[in-house]
C-alpha cells in the first residue's frame, strides 16, 4: 500500500513535469491551474477507489465523472451554486465547443483561452486516471508512461518560434526514469486490476503511433494540418463573437491592426442576427450549420451592393494593414462599397449579416484564404449618417420586424425593465427608445460596471441576472442584453462584433502629405455593440458598453454617427466651454491612393490560415482529430482487452507458466465480478475447494490448483498440463459467472460498498475496544 502511494506520488510528479511542454503553446502560464488541478483530483479519487478496492470499471467512471463535475470550478466558468448539474454541464459543453473553435483559429503560442485550457484539462484528467490504473493498479509502468509521453509530445510537436528542447525533455526523462525504477518487481496482482497481458506492448505501440501522428494532425503555426477531414471550400459557421471574447480575454494586449482612416470608425467583422439564449450567432438561429444564401454573396472584386439601402451616408476610406490577426472575416467600416487590394479576389461580401469574408469562393480551392499578418487592403464605405428627425419618422414594415425581433424565448423581466426605461425617458419613437436604453446602460442610472473578469455568460438565467442583479460585465454582456431588450420590445436589433477604432497615433497633416489619420488597433479593442435596423437608413450603431477608458463612440440624438470618441468629446466640450473654438472637425478629403502602394500579397501562399481550417459547426478537421486523440487511450484499452484471448493463445506457446497465471487472474477477475472473490488469505487450492463445496463450480477441479501453483511457485510444468489447466480455469470462470443470477451480479458493487463500510466500522470498533 505504501508503495502504491509512492507510485501515485511519482505519477503526479511525472504529470507535473509535462507542464513546461504546454508552456510552449501558451503565451503565459495562466493555463496551468486547471489541468494540474484536474489531474491531481483524478489521481486522488482513483487512489481512494483503489484503497477501497473498487474495481477499475467503477474507479474509472468515478474519477472521470467527479473531475468533469469539478471542471467548471477549476476553469472558473461555473455559473454559481444555484445552477444544477445540467446547467454546469451545459457550460462545459459550450466551453468545449469554444475550445474546438479556438483550437482551429488560434495559432500557437495562443492565449490561455478557457476553451483551449478545457481541452488540455480533459487530456490531463484522462491521462492521469488511465495512467494511475495502469501503473499503480496493474503495475505496468511502461504502457502508462507511454500515455503520459503522448500527453507530453503533443505540445512539443507543435512548432513555435522559441525552442528550448532539452529544458523540456530532461525533467520529464528524470521523473519517468525514477518511476520506472520504482516500479520494478511490482506485485503482479492488484485489486481490480485491468488484466493486461501482452497488451502492454499493444498499448505502447498504439500510443507511440498516436504520438508520432500528432504533429501532422494538429494545426500549428504556419502549417496546414496534414489531414483535413472537411472540404475547405465549404462555408463554415465560424462564430466571430467567440473570437472577440477570446481576444478581450487575452492577458497581454497586442497590436493587431494598423489602420489609416479618413475618419474614426468601428472596424466591423459581422452582424450577428440570431440569439440562441446564450450567444449571438451569424445566420438564422436554427442551430444548423450556417450557410449563407448564395444569392446574398457577392465577389469583392466588384462594387459591393449595400446590405440595407441607406439614404444619408458619409464616405469613409480606410487602409488596413494586418499586424497580428488571422481571421476569415475582414474588419472594415460599415457598410463597404468597394474593396481594393490584391486579396480582394479571395473575398466575398455577404448581404446577410453584412460581412466581408474570405471563404466560399470556388476559385479558392487549394489556396490559402483569410487575412493574416501582412495582409493589406483598402475599403471605401458609406457610413449611415442620418439625422434624428429622419430616423424618428421611419416606419417599420412587418417583415423587418419578423426577421429581426426573434428570440429563443420570452424575457418578460427584461422587457419590463426596457419599458420602464422608455417611460422614464419619455421615449416614444424607436430611435428615442434605443438611445434611452443605451444611456441607461452607459449612464449612471443603470449602475452598470465594466469588468472583464466575470464568469462566462452562460446558463438560462445568466442574462437576466446580469441585467437585474450583477450589472457587471464587458461588451458582449452589454450588447447581448441591449439587443435582447430591444427585440423583446419589438425593435429590430442585432449584435455586431469587431474592433473599436483604436488609438490615433498620427494625425493627418496635409502639409506633410499625410492624408489619413493613423490608428493602432489592439486585442483590447475587440468589441461587440448593437445595431438597430431603420429601413431606408440601414443598420445604425448603438453603444451600450460603459468602457472605462472612454475609447468608445457614443451616438446621441444630436449626432447619431459621431466620429470622436468619448474622451475626445469630453476634451472638446471642455475646450468649447473655455473659448468656444471652431466647429466640428472639417470633413476629411479622401485622397486616392494608387493601388500599387498597398503591400503586395505574397504569392507563395506558404502560410496557412488557422481560422479557415476549422469551425464550431463546420466540417473542420482538427476538432475531430483532437477528439480522436482524447479517445485513443480508451479505445486502445478496449482493444487490448479484446485482443487478450489471442494473446493467451500466443503466450501458451511461449510461456505456459504465464498463460496459466493469466488464466488464474481471469478466473479471479470473473469471480470478483460476480461477488465470489477469493478471500485474501485463501490459497488457490482453498478457494477452488470452497467453490466446489459451495456448488459454484463442478466437482473434481482440485487438481488444477496443483498445476496453477506449480506455475506460480517455480514448479515443473509442461505445456500439455498448462493448456489443460488454462482450459479448466476458463471453464471454471464461465461456471462461476453462469451460476450467479443476473440480478445478483448487478448488486455486487453495492454489496461490496456495504461490506467495505461494515468492515471499516468493525475495524474502528475493534480499535476502540482493544487499545
Amino acid at each position: 500500500m505504501r508503495r502504491d502511494g509512492l507510485l501515485t506520488l511519482l505519477l503526479a510528479l511525472v504529470l507535473l513535469t509535462t507542464v513546461p511542454a504546454y508552456d510552449r503553446v501558451f503565451t503565459d502560464d495562466a493555463w496551468r491551474g486547471a489541468p494540474l488541478g484536474a489531474a491531481l483530483l483524478a489521481l486522488v479519487i482513483a487512489g481512494l477507489a483503489r484503497r477501497l478496492r473498487l474495481p477499475t470499471w467503477v474507479a474509472l467512471p468515478l474519477a472521470l465523472g467527479s473531475t468533469v463535475l469539478a471542471l467548471p470550478w477549476l476553469l472558473g466558468v461555473h455559473v454559481g451554486w444555484r445552477e444544477d448539474v445540467v446547467g454546469q454541464l451545459e457550460v462545459l459543453r459550450a466551453t468545449f465547443a469554444d475550445g474546438l473553435v479556438s483550437l482551429a483559429a488560434e495559432p500557437s503560442p495562443a492565449e490561455p483561452l478557457v476553451g483551449l485550457v478545457l481541452l488540455v484539462t480533459i487530456g490531463y484528467g484522462c491521462v492521469a486516471v488511465l495512467a494511475h490504473e495502469i501503473i499503480v493498479r496493474s503495475g505496468h509502468a511502461a504502457p502508462g508512461l507511454v500515455m503520459i509521453a503522448v500527453l507530453w509530445t503533443v505540445p512539443l510537436a507543435i512548432p513555435t518560434s522559441a525552442d528550448d528542447g532539452w529544458l523540456v525533455v530532461v525533467p520529464f526523462l528524470a521523473a519517468t526514469g525514477t518511476l520506472l525504477l520504482a516500479s520494478v518487481n511490482l506485485p503482479r496482482e492488484g485489486p481490480g486490476a485491468i488484466p493486461l497481458p501482452a497488451s502492454g506492448l499493444a498499448l505502447g505501440a498504439a500510443a507511440i503511433a498516436v504520438a508520432v501522428a500528432a504533429p501532422w494532425l494538429l494545426p500549428a503555426q504556419g502549417q496546414d494540418p496534414w489531414l483535413a477531414l472537411g472540404s475547405s471550400t465549404q462555408p463554415r459557421g465560424y462564430q466571430p463573437i467567440v473570437d472577440i471574447t477570446n481576444r478581450l480575454g487575452s492577458p497581454e494586449e497586442r497590436e493587431v491592426l494598423r489602420v489609416r482612416a479618413s475618419q474614426r470608425s468601428y472596424l466591423r467583422l459581422a452582424g450577428l442576427d440570431s440569439f440562441d439564449g446564450g450567444t449571438w450567432r451569424l445566420g438564422p438561429g436554427d442551430g444548423a450549420t450556417y450557410r449563407p444564401d448564395p444569392g446574398a454573396l457577392f465577389p469583392a472584386d466588384q462594387p459591393l451592393p449595400p446590405e440595407e439601402p441607406a439614404a444619408s451616408t458619409q464616405l469613409v476610406e480606410v487602409d488596413v494593414e494586418v499586424l497580428e490577426l488571422e481571421n476569415i472575416y475582414v474588419p472594415l467600416p460599415y457598410q463597404p462599397v468597394e474593396v481594393l487590394g490584391p486579396i480582394r479576389d479571395q473575398m466575398v461580401w455577404s448581404t446577410e449579416g453584412g460581412f466581408l469574408a474570405t471563404w466560399d469562393r470556388a476559385e479558392a480551392v487549394g489556396e490559402t484564404i483569410g487575412i493574416r499578418q501582412g495582409s493589406a487592403y483598402r475599403v471605401l464605405a458609406e457610413r449611415p449618417d442620418p439625422s434624428f428627425e429622419e430616423l424618428a419618422a421611419v416606419d417599420f414594415p412587418e417583415e423587418v420586424l419578423a426577421d429581426h425581433t426573434q428570440l429563443p424565448r420570452d424575457y418578460p423581466e427584461l422587457g419590463a425593465v426596457a419599458e420602464e426605461v422608455y417611460t422614464a425617458a419619455e421615449a416614444d419613437t424607436v430611435v428615442e427608445q434605443a438611445l434611452a436604453l443605451q444611456s441607461w446602460f452607459v449612464g449612471p442610472e443603470g449602475g452598470f460596471t465594466y469588468d472583464l473578469d466575470v464568469p462566462a455568460l452562460r446558463g438560462d438565467d445568466a442574462l437576466t441576472e446580469f441585467v437585474l442583479e450583477d450589472r457587471v460585465g464587458y461588451c458582449e454582456y452589454f450588447a447581448t442584453a441591449m439587443a435582447v431588450m430591444l427585440r423583446e420590445t419589438g425593435i429590430p436589433a442585432r449584435v455586431a462584433v469587431g474592433f473599436l477604432p483604436g488609438e490615433r497615433v498620427e494625425q493627418a497633416d496635409p502639409q506633410a502629405e499625410i492624408a489619413l489619420d493613423e490608428y493602432l488597433v489592439t486585442t483590447g479593442d475587440a468589441h461587440a455593440w448593437v445595431e438597430v435596423l431603420f429601413p431606408g437608413y440601414g443598420w445604425i450603431t448603438f453603444e451600450p458598453t460603459p468602457r472605462s477608458d472612454d475609447s468608445h463612440i457614443l451616438p446621441r440624438a444630436d449626432d447619431l454617427a459621431p466620429i470622436e470618441n468619448e474622451a475626445e468629446r469630453a476634451e472638446r466640450e471642455g475646450a468649447d466651454a473655455l473659448d468656444d473654438l471652431e466647429g466640428p472637425d472639417a470633413d476629411t478629403e479622401v485622397p486616392e491612393l494608387p493601388e500599387q502602394q498597398l503591400p503586395e500579397e505574397g504569392e507563395d501562399g506558404a502560410a496557412a490560415d488557422q481560422a479557415a481550417a476549422g469551425g464550431e459547426d463546420g466540417a473542420g478537421a482538427n476538432p475531430w482529430v483532437v477528439l480522436a486523440l482524447l479517445l485513443a487511450p480508451v479505445v486502445v484499452v478496449l482493444l487490448a482487452r479484446v485482443g487478450q484471448r489471442a494473446a493467451v493463445g500466443r503466450q501458451l506457446g511461449d510461456d505456459p507458466r504465464g498463460a496459466v497465471l493469466m488464466a488464474q487472474r481471469r478466473l479471479y477477475a470473473a469471480a470478483r465480478r460476480v461477488g465470489l472473490e477469493r478471500r485474501a488469505h485463501e490459497t488457490t487450492r482453498e478457494v477452488i475447494a470452497r467453490w466446489e463445496a459451495e456448488g459454484r463450480i463442478d466437482r473434481g477441479r482440485g487438481a488444477v490448483a496443483g498445476t496453477v501453483q506449480a506455475a506460480a511457485f517455480d514448479g515443473e510444468l509442461d505445456a500439455d498440463r498448462a493448456s489443460a489447466a488454462v482450459a479448466t480455469l476458463d471453464r471454471m470462470a464461465e461456471e462461476l459467472t453462469g451460476r450467479v443470477p443476473r440480478r445478483e451480479q448487478v448488486l455486487v458493487p453495492l454489496r461490496r460498498v456495504v461490506a467495505g463500510v461494515t468492515r471499516g466500522v468493525e475495524r474502528l470498533r475493534e480499535g476502540w475496544r482493544l487499545r
Binding site: 497465471l661 485474501a680 488469505h681 488457490t684 482453498e686 496443483g706 506460480a712 511457485f713 482493544l770
Partner: protein, 325 residues
C-alpha cells in the same frame, strides 16, 4: 553436466524420494490407526532432521509411533523414561573401566539410537533435560573430552504429560524452541478404537511391520529434499506469518528466526512427501500450526481469556493474504 540434465536428475530424485516417503508413511499408518496426520508430522520431523514434542496423556500410542517409525526405516530405537533422579550420563552414556583390557571404554547411553523416545521429559531435572537438549541440537555428545557423533538420522520424540504437573520441571520456553514441532496425538476415533481393541493381542502388528527403507535412503531423502524450490512469494509469505506472531496483540514473545528456518525446513519436506518439487502456500498454512505455537509465549490476560497459541496462529493465517502467483 548441463543444467537440463540437472533438472531432470533432480526431478527423478524427488520422484523417488516421494515414493520412499509415501511407502514409509503407509507402513506406519498400518499400525497407527486413524492417525494419518500424526504420522505425516512425525515423518516430516524426521526428514527435516528435527525433533518432536508430543504433549499428550499416556496410552495414546506415543511409543507405538516411535517404534513403528524406527522399524519402517530399519533403524535403532531406544527409550528413556525420565525420572527426577535420572542423571545426564544415564542418557548420554558413561566411560567405564574394562578390567580385561585394562582400558576405559565408552558405553553409549540410549541417546545413541536413530529414534529416541524420551518419556515424560518434564519429570527429569533441569541438568538432565539440558544434556538431552544439547545433544539434540549439536547431534554430538562429549564425554570425558571425547566427542561422539550421534547416529543419523537422529530424532528425539519427547513426551510431556500435560495433566500431572506436580513434581515436574516443565521445559522452559527457550528450550521448547529446540523441538521442530509440538503435536498432540489425541484419542483415536471410536471406530478406530474399536479396531484397536479387537486386534490387540490377537496379532502383534508391530512385529509384522517390516522395513520399507533403510537409513541410507532416509539420509538421501534428507539431502534431496533441500532441492525443493521455495519461490520468493512463498518465502515472503512464510516470513510474514512468523513475523506476524511478534506483533500479535495476544503474544508476549513471538517466533524467532529459528522458527522461520524450522518452518521452511518443514514445508520443504511436506512438499516432497506430496511429490512436489515446489512449496505452495498451503504447506505453510498446514504446518504453521504445528511448528510455531510451542515457541510463543502468550500474554497472561490472553491466556486467562482462554486463548491458545494455536488460536493465535489461526488468527494470523486468516488475516494474512496468501500468494497466488
Amino acid at each position: 553436466m548441463t543444467s537440463t540434465e540437472q533438472v531432470g536428475t533432480q526431478a527423478l530424485d524427488l520422484h523417488r524420494v516421494a515414493g520412499t516417503l509415501q511407502a514409509i508413511e503407509g507402513n506406519i499408518q498400518r499400525v497407527m490407526r486413524g492417525k494419518d496426520r500424526v504420522v505425516r508430522l512425525a515423518l516430516i520431523t524426521l526428514l527435516a532432521e528435527g525433533h518432536l514434542l508430543v504433549e499428550d496423556v499416556p496410552g495414546v500410542g506415543k511409543t507405538l509411533l516411535a517404534k513403528a517409525l524406527a522399524r519402517s526405516i530399519d533403524c535403532s530405537v531406544s527409550r528413556v523414561q525420565f525420572t527426577p533422579d535420572l542423571l545426564p550420563s544415564d542418557v548420554t552414556g558413561v566411560t567405564v573401566y574394562a578390567p580385561d583390557t585394562g582400558a576405559f571404554a565408552f558405553r553409549p547411553g540410549p541417546i545413541f539410537a536413530n529414534v529416541v523416545l524420551g518419556d515424560e521429559i518434564n519429570r527429569a531435572g533441569p541438568k538432565t533435560q539440558s544434556a538431552l537438549l544439547e545433544a539434540m541440537e549439536e547431534r554430538t555428545v562429549t564425554i570425558d573430552g571425547t566427542t561422539h557423533q550421534l547416529a543419523r538420522p537422529f530424532m528425539v520424540i519427547a513426551t510431556q504429560n500435560p495433566i500431572e504437573l506436580e513434581g515436574t520441571y516443565p521445559l522452559p520456553e527457550a528450550q521448547r524452541d529446540r523441538f521442530l514441532m509440538r503435536i498432540a496425538i489425541g484419542y483415536p476415533h471410536a471406530d478406530d478404537e474399536l479396531e484397536i481393541v479387537r486386534t490387540h493381542g490377537a496379532t502383534d502388528r508391530l512385529a509384522e511391520l517390516g522395513p520399507v527403507a533403510d537409513t541410507g535412503a532416509v539420509m538421501e531423502a534428507v539431502h534431496t529434499i533441500r532441492e525443493v524450490r521455495v519461490s520468493e512469494p512463498i518465502e515472503r509469505y512464510l516470513i510474514a506469518v512468523c513475523r506476524a506472531t511478534r506483533n500479535h496483540r495476544d503474544v508476549e514473545l513471538g517466533a524467532s528466526p529459528r522458527a522461520s528456518l524450522a518452518l521452511l525446513r518443514a514445508v520443504r519436506v511436506a512438499a516432497a512427501i506430496d511429490g512436489r518439487d515446489h512449496v505452495v502456500p498451503d504447506d505453510v498454512k498446514a504446518l504453521a500450526g504445528h511448528v510455531l505455537p510451542h515457541r510463543l509465549i502468550l500474554r497472561p490476560d490472553a491466556e486467562l481469556a482462554g486463548t491458545t497459541a494455536l488460536d493465535v496462529i489461526a488468527d494470523i493465517l486468516s488475516g494474512m493474504p496468501a500468494p497466488t502467483e
